[in-house]
Symmetry: C3
């Protein structure tokens, strides 16, 4: 595997293989599989799980990693092609990325959306400008438009919990003080559809997922026997849910317009998941969130501390799922 950029680049069988490898590595660790391998991790944005789990994952298999954080101890990096670099950035990714790649055996890059231009963010140009100039294996640590590591980890969590494939998966918008990116919504809705689930995207008016995102999920559902629909009717959506997956994102009707976004979300404070959201859900309905989560703003303590929440297994599966990706990319490579 040379690229891990989006689950859509893989067949369902390839993903199932990766998940099987993840389970196998979890049960029977291969402490020397990546001996001598070094992963370069480049973070344009903050991280906790990704930062920690990739470092640990490499070490659990005998490899190692280095962390580069542009602007924190290292140069700010320019990503725009053809830029006249008279601003804050001292270096361009056209130098920075190939140079880091030349030192390492693989690179992972996190580069969030700008949040200004929807088409640009969905095209993920900034991220691909880096993938393109990297000759080594390359991992998406969350780009503007996707977060495949999260999606793969969540798939594994659903499998670990024996959530049936055709279960009702409700992906719900929740409140946040400001607009957050679309990467996790796009990746997780697509993943659930690709897994074959009956996906309902629940969101208030103004926060519909972009057509492009919905169409990609629809296409995945067609291949897997799942389904995808969207609604702003919370009661109907939550009825019979087997999984409620909460996530914050920005207004899409006026994408990048922070004033309108703020007005739209001002009245949406009650989109904070509380125990009563589960009243008409399936008995054993699970609660998921990719983290980080603002307690009592997006999700109430009672839910996060209650028995439905599987946010910690989800986070732990970042490690197990990524170890499979790293193993596929780097084990026995060139040996």
């Amino acid at each position: 595997m040379l690229r891990f950029l989006d689950l859509a680049h893989f067949s369902r069988e390839e993903i199932l293989d990766l998940l099987a490898l993840a389970r196998s590595l979890q049960e029977r660790p291969q402490a020397r599989a990546l001996e001598g391998r070094i992963l370069g991790l480049v973070f344009f944005n903050p991280s906790l799980r990704t930062l920690a789990s990739f470092q640990v994952g490499m070490r659990r298999m005998g490899g190692d990693s280095i962390v580069i954080t542009p602007g924190l101890g290292t140069w700010q990096l320019e990503t725009r092609t053809g830029a006249i670099m008279s601003g804050a950035a001292a270096e361009h990714v056209r130098e920075g990325i190939p140079v880091l790649a030349s030192y390492c055996d693989a690179l992972g890059v996190r580069a969030f959306a700008d949040g200004k231009d929807l088409a640009a963010d969905l095209a993920d140009a900034q991220f691909f400008s880096m993938a393109e100039v990297c000759e080594k294996p390359f991992i998406n640590l969350e780009s503007a438009a996707s977060h495949p590591c999260q999606a793969l980890a969540d798939w594994k969590t659903l499998d670990d919990l024996r959530v049936p494939t055709r279960a009702k998966f409700v992906f719900s918008w929740v409140y946040h003080p400001r607009a957050l990116p679309l990467a996790v919504p796009a990746a997780v809705v697509h993943m659930a559809a690709m897994r074959g689930m009956d996906v309902t995207v629940l969101r208030p008016e103004g926060f519909a997922l972009p057509r492009q995102v919905m169409q990609k999920a629809q296409a995945a559902a067609e291949g897997s026997g799942g389904s995808v629909q969207e609604t702003s009717d919370r009661v109907a959506a939550l009825h019979g849910a087997h999984v409620i997956y909460a996530k914050e994102w920005g207004c899409t009707s006026h994408y990048g317009d922070s004033e309108t976004d703020a007005q739209l979300r001002a009245g949406l404070g009650e989109w904070c998941v509380r125990e009563d959201w589960f009243k008409e859900a399936a008995n054993d309905c699970r609660f998921m969130h990719c983290l980080p989560v603002r307690r009592n703003v997006a999700v109430a303590d009672e839910v996060l501390d209650g028995p439905r929440s599987v946010v910690k297994p989800q986070a732990f599966n970042r490690l197990t799922a990524q170890m499979a990706v790293l193993h596929r990319m780097l084990a026995n490579q060139g040996r």
Copy 2:
């Protein structure tokens, strides 16, 4: 060992065992004792010795570590129970700590005092809120109320230098431009008492150590045959001293009142340790400080660069003492 939070949680014999292990590891390194073990280090506050020595300690024994610095490349973390998280913190320690613990074999956390409410700081609630949600071995890298790694290292330094148990140990307040926490004073005074020394806490009016801190040290002295007293009479205190340990801390008579603190310390600039502090001390009186130290503000160059100073052996013993703690926690564990 599952927790290393405060020396008071251990018997004198257990501490002597740890120190023996530290000496043994120093003489006969065990380069594979922690193979495959990963320590997560979480720093809410700056660090030099702790940051460096824990990373090195793990590696010297074949293990490894990751460093997480909330707010620097990773999310700011909320610690208050029940908080409505609409502020700067994107994640709560109730998620962050268990998630990191799930990736690692042990965690260490540094979380300094807020410096506003003495009772709250001495109760160390912020720190214990993290210890409570960590199911893996947990190390105090300096909390509001304690710094057991420093205390253990200092005990070893006193042993290495063959400072007699019943020697006079003067723990003196020294000047600093602003209020610093009570963790080191509390931990080191307790340690010296637990070691069996005759401890004199020397401090100007307004800077007496809290009753709770003194009582804890008294209790330790009772068990060890040592003694603890306090005074603001510098001449009497320094007379016959075998060790002068200098440390900066905030006003306790008006704890958290930065204006009064500033007024009180304004006239105390001569509380900077100079060679003449040792005039009536024992001939071979040693000078100690936990570092970092402001030269010519808290301690004069002549003392730090002179033959009495053992601040560098103290700092080196952070490594040796912590290796013993790590070995006890992680070697052969689950094997």
Copy 3:
């Protein structure tokens, strides 16, 4: 090797030996040569290549490293001797450096020029104040006056490309929005002279390299059979060039005077290397730059993306050259 501070401290034969070792390690890696060795890396200034390549270099040979960034997660460090430390710095390098050295097997330090006082910067006092108090092997990761790792890597790149020793090496000033330090100009001009090349320093009026820098290069040229000259005549300088090495630096006629520097450079925007700079150069003339580089400000895209540019091999050779230095310092040491 106990110190790697400047190529001038080594004979030409010693450098050739280091380069041979670099080539050997590149072809036949020694994955266990530095087992158990730990390098401490201290960065007072930003870094990409140095930060990444030293960490990777240690790991490629079985060792490891820790990174300390004063002011970012660790204390700000004072460097001035005798300072009364009432400012921002909480710790002095007279404690910080020996303490880190006591944990590690070698230290590397980056400390750029202040850019205020030319004599002080060329004397490199701040850097040497740290080298002096370090009892372990010590590496210059770029000081005010030198950058030997860059120079050694560039020498290797010239050798790798089979650029003849007596070729014409043009070291040209290029535009940058503000004054940059003299470390790379001093180190690279000296290196090219020491390699035996015919060096031409090309720079606008006001930007002549300091006499001390030119004399040092002259002395090296005398020993190697090379030559060193300087000019502000770009056409003459570029004529017949085998290598054009571009670099930004500050005005030297009014060193540290940022207003005059800004005025002088205001009209020099066309000192941006474009393809037409190579019109009268040798056919196979190479383009070099140490990176980071501001695209379309210092060097045009057409040059950096064109076939003449060897900036990526240069950066890669930071790794290979430094591995030789680390091997010489740390392999088999004390065994």
